[in-house]
């Protein structure tokens, strides 16, 4: 129960801070959450999310608490990079996003492994080399960036669609404003 409440509290606190910086943060969080859930559903056979409260699960052991945890890590990392490296091209920032996400992701994975919330299926265990980095299999250094490349691309793609849709509305508003 403490884990679930902590994740929800951390997500709300960071979202409130980020909304002050960028009013579209909640929408971005929603898009990231959809991507994370798609991925979690697709790869559910690989991971086991155990010992959470029954209300924390969506389907089998796909947990929305784990998903909002990932979504918070991703959104905060993207915002940090956008804030400090705004002069870089989008392509370079895309690769920079992966750095804080991988570091925070490995720490978070270590926490859920340590708490007994996360376990790997037998199929994954067969593939692991046995080398660990702070309690986390070294393979996470590959898996987390790959997972994130797909999630960040999904976010970037849908953000473009939403922004393009919003453009004519904003242009109309600006035209009406200038007529007044």
């Amino acid at each position: 129960m403490i884990f679930e409440r902590s994740v929800i509290t951390i997500a709300i606190v960071f979202l409130l801070i980020l909304i002050k910086i960028d009013k579209d943060s909640l929408r971005k969080f929603g898009i990231i959450l959809v991507a994370v859930l798609l991925f979690e559903y697709f790869t559910q056979a690989l991971w086991l999310n155990k010992n959470l409260e029954p209300w924390a699960y969506l389907y089998l052991d796909v947990s929305w608490i784990i998903a909002i945890g990932w979504a918070t890590i991703i959104l905060v990392s993207i915002k940090i990079i956008d804030l400090y490296f705004s002069n870089l091209s989008e392509r370079r920032r895309f690769f920079f996003y992966l750095v804080p996400i991988t570091i925070i992701g490995i720490v978070a994975e270590g926490v859920v492994l340590g708490l007994g919330i996360r376990e790997y299926s037998s199929a994954v265990q067969r593939m692991l080399s046995g080398i660990v980095l702070w309690n986390v299999p070294i393979e996470a250094l590959y898996y987390i960036p790959v997972f994130m490349v797909l999630v960040i691309s999904f976010t970037g793609y849908w953000e473009t669609i939403v922004e393009e849709k919003a453009k004519p509305i904003e242009e109309n508003k600006a035209k009406k404003g200038s007529k007044k």
Binding site: S89, A123, F147, V151
Partner: protein, 174 residues
Amino acid sequence: MIGIIIFELSMIALILGLWSYMKRKQCKNATRKIIILFLGVLLFEIMSEPMWRNFKLNSWAYLYHDVSWIITLGWVNIFLASMLLIDNLFEKMPEKKKFWLYLLFITVITTPIEVILLQTGIRGYDAVLTATMRGIMIPFTQAPIEIVFVIPMMAALIIPFYKFVNRLFEQTTR
């Protein structure tokens, strides 16, 4: 065995056909686009490797464990053909609507192919994956119903990767 070679060679022939079609249609950066899509599918295949088994292919068709570049090419062919078809048929349609059509086409094309691959024994599922299945089969087949849900989910992550990464390249080469 001859059937496997025909399957492998047709995957290569199909991608070459799609590439030359894109070139004929003066599609910009056709090679780069195919490489990005191949990379997107391959990342996904390596990531989800413990869930699937690719049997019976010739040894040169495998990259790592049972990750096969021929199977990856097969996915690329389906994704690319679906996107080219939708983009040509519904040129003026907004991207948001086209996205759903991409998923529909990909699912419609892939489901029977996956059924054939399962029935011919080229494709198999690991026990950890079958354990999450409900046991309901697609009518008249031995293929799990989950295929119909999982294919659009996979496509919903790979298409944005393809489109977004291409956009990143286009921005910097402008």
